[in-house]
Symmetry: C2
Subunit: 343 residues, 2 copies
DNA sequence: TATATAAATGGGAACGTTCCCATTTTAGCA
DNA sequence: TGCTAAAATGGGAACGTTCCCATTTATATA
């Protein structure tokens, strides 16, 4: 039957006003005598008072909660990013709500709505279907994760996907490969297509004719990778090397190769992108382009904190806003799945 | 300069009272004329009103937010569980806050505090250091995930770890293995030690003498698994098979075997537990004991929802509480990392 | 000691809902 | 048509803070 104690109960117990208690609790320490602070803290202790963040939020219009919206939490890439976000945000006292859109448009929008209703302080999102304008309409400070184009109004943290692709292709080229397949994810539907553009640019530069039958487009999962490779192997002249848009696809391809009795890297080289945990667990271990996942998350949090320090309302509307881009460079993680082609 | 519209603005616009607007918005549809509902909805539309969940929470003492506390989000096991939780909870309109304790006592406690202050409606936790009593002290409905003992006051959802271990050992035994190593995680410090107990019980039943040098205890990561196997291989008579407490450890062991030039499964069999994504990506693919990760999360959510339907305050204190245990059975996922021993 | 200034404290309004209770309107029925 | 019951609606208080502003108390200065 006993109610949770409120700030007023504490005030009564300590013989001060609720205002003073509030001052002590918010650590707004300024202008409170040390002795009074003591008295209040004792009262808090005695009554087992816990600050009511909800009431506080109502008054201050700040919840200290941010939302992290991701397409697929089961791709290990994202948990790694999330950890970077969390480590940074928690240090500033923010809680992180995960939103797992699962590639679904409706869910993604539903989460934006949730962020609005719950007055979350900010949004961190790898947008899948949602547009620049839809994000702007939330009026919530937002930072994007991923190298997407078409979002002129937001800070973006990601990795240099174009460069990563070049890196991978150069590696294969230097090994002697000339016929290189590309396995793309079907979701990669944004304007930009950095990987594809990078691929065609590379071929052009090296004066290798573009062969569209070498470009596969499949669902972003293991099976997608597997199917793509099967199809590539069935060509009259199959590629001697394959670049997959991410490690999940690459691992699927690797499995398909094993199943087909193709030896990797002897008869086929495979490169992935991301460097997720499983990449080093395959046999042979996967050569891949490493992205600094944790760092990406951390930097995104950093941008977000910049927005949060200012008046939330202002950050989007008032001052002329020059979006920042922070694209991390990627590095070649050479392991066992690549080798010179057999002649 | 324009404020966000409130329920009162909507009321004015629609020419009704705020109470009526509230009724419409909460979908408490009872006792509102259809025509009035229309009018209110139009007003909402016109003004671009969004419900303020914070204010609502203050009044109703419900936030519709739950916390999911996990030791390590980068172990793919947990995201899979989390997805089950999320799918179920979101359907009921709850948001899920992830808390990543990273095996750290302080962080785990800090998260409990956060849950209290933010008045989260419930907690779902795989407790690492926190005790039964500490959880009880939060006065927040809580359900545990994992097969931990020592928590008499809570519903628990997990898997039958003891049985899983038996399954794995039986598999190895049936293949002909008699000298079987065990790689345990160092964190497994709870009373119970289901895996260890299961292991010793099994040996006893099969009348195999216990050899403590076959039992390794290492950090719960890839490297732990690697080191453990190296040490096992350095024994004068190494085991012919190894059971690892989870797939991460098993994969580490697998890598160590490769590095040592030991062929798996010809010269050494390895079994893991969990069946995470990467388990099927290794070469040879890992034989493991599959746990229904998604289902575990879903069932945990189900238990939680039971608590949430009742008066939150009551569920813990009043009625005599009989904790429920839902331990899922595990299944042998036979892949390529196990085979009869060479004689 | 009186006076000006700074520091410490307190009272009340406000944040935007929901809920209780009272009042008005509508429907049902003789 | 009049009366009763039910349905629909509205006004105000309450949830637990924080913030504004006013007041009291302590400190420094002349």
């Amino acid at each position: 039957m006993k109610r949770r104690p409120t700030i007023i109960d504490v005030a009564k117990q300590a013989g001060v006003s609720k205002t003073t208690v509030s001052r002590v609790i918010t650590g707004d320490g300024a202008n409170v005598r040390e002795e009074t602070v003591q008295r209040v803290q004792e009262a808090v202790e005695e009554l087992g008072y816990t600050h009511n963040a909800v009431a506080s939020s109502l008054r201050t219009a700040r919840t200290n909660i941010i939302m992290l919206s991701l397409p697929d939490i089961t791709n290990p890439f994202w948990p790694a990013v999330a950890r970077g976000v969390q480590d940074r945000m928690e240090k500033e006292g923010y809680a992180v709500v995960f939103a797992n859109s699962d590639w679904d448009t409706e869910r993604e929008k539903m989460f934006l709505e949730m962020a609005r209703r719950n007055r979350f302080d900010a949004i961190l999102i790898n947008p899948v279907h949602v547009s620049n304008d839809e994000l702007k309409a939330t009026h919530i400070p937002t930072v994007l994760i991923g190298s997407h184009e078409g979002f002129p109004d937001f800070d973006i943290v990601g990795s240099n996907t174009y460069g990563a692709t070049q890196l991978a292709l150069t590696h294969l080229y230097d090994l002697g490969h000339r016929r290189i397949g590309l396995i793309r994810g079907r979701r990669e539907s944004r304007p930009g297509h950095s990987r594809l553009r990078s691929y065609t640019d590379f071929l052009q530069e090296k004066q290798i004719p573009l062969d569209n039958s070498l470009i596969m487009r499949v669902p972003f999962d293991e099976n997608g990778g597997r199917q793509a490779l099967q199809q590539l192997l069935s060509l009259s002249t199959p590629p001697t090397a394959v670049l997959a848009a991410n490690d999940i696809l690459a691992i699927g391809a690797l499995q398909a190769a094993h199943e087909a009795g193709i030896s990797v890297p002897d008869h086929l080289s495979i490169v992935g992108i991301d460097d997720i945990f499983a990449a080093s667990a395959t046999t042979p271990p996967l050569t891949t382009i490493a992205k600094p996942q944790y760092e990406i998350g951390k930097q995104a949090a950093e941008f977000l904190l910049d927005h949060l320090e200012k008046e939330p309302a202002l950050s989007l509307s008032k001052r002329p806003f020059t979006p920042r881009r922070h694209l991390f460079d990627c590095t070649l993680q050479q392991r066992g799945s690549t080798a010179p082609p057999i002649n």
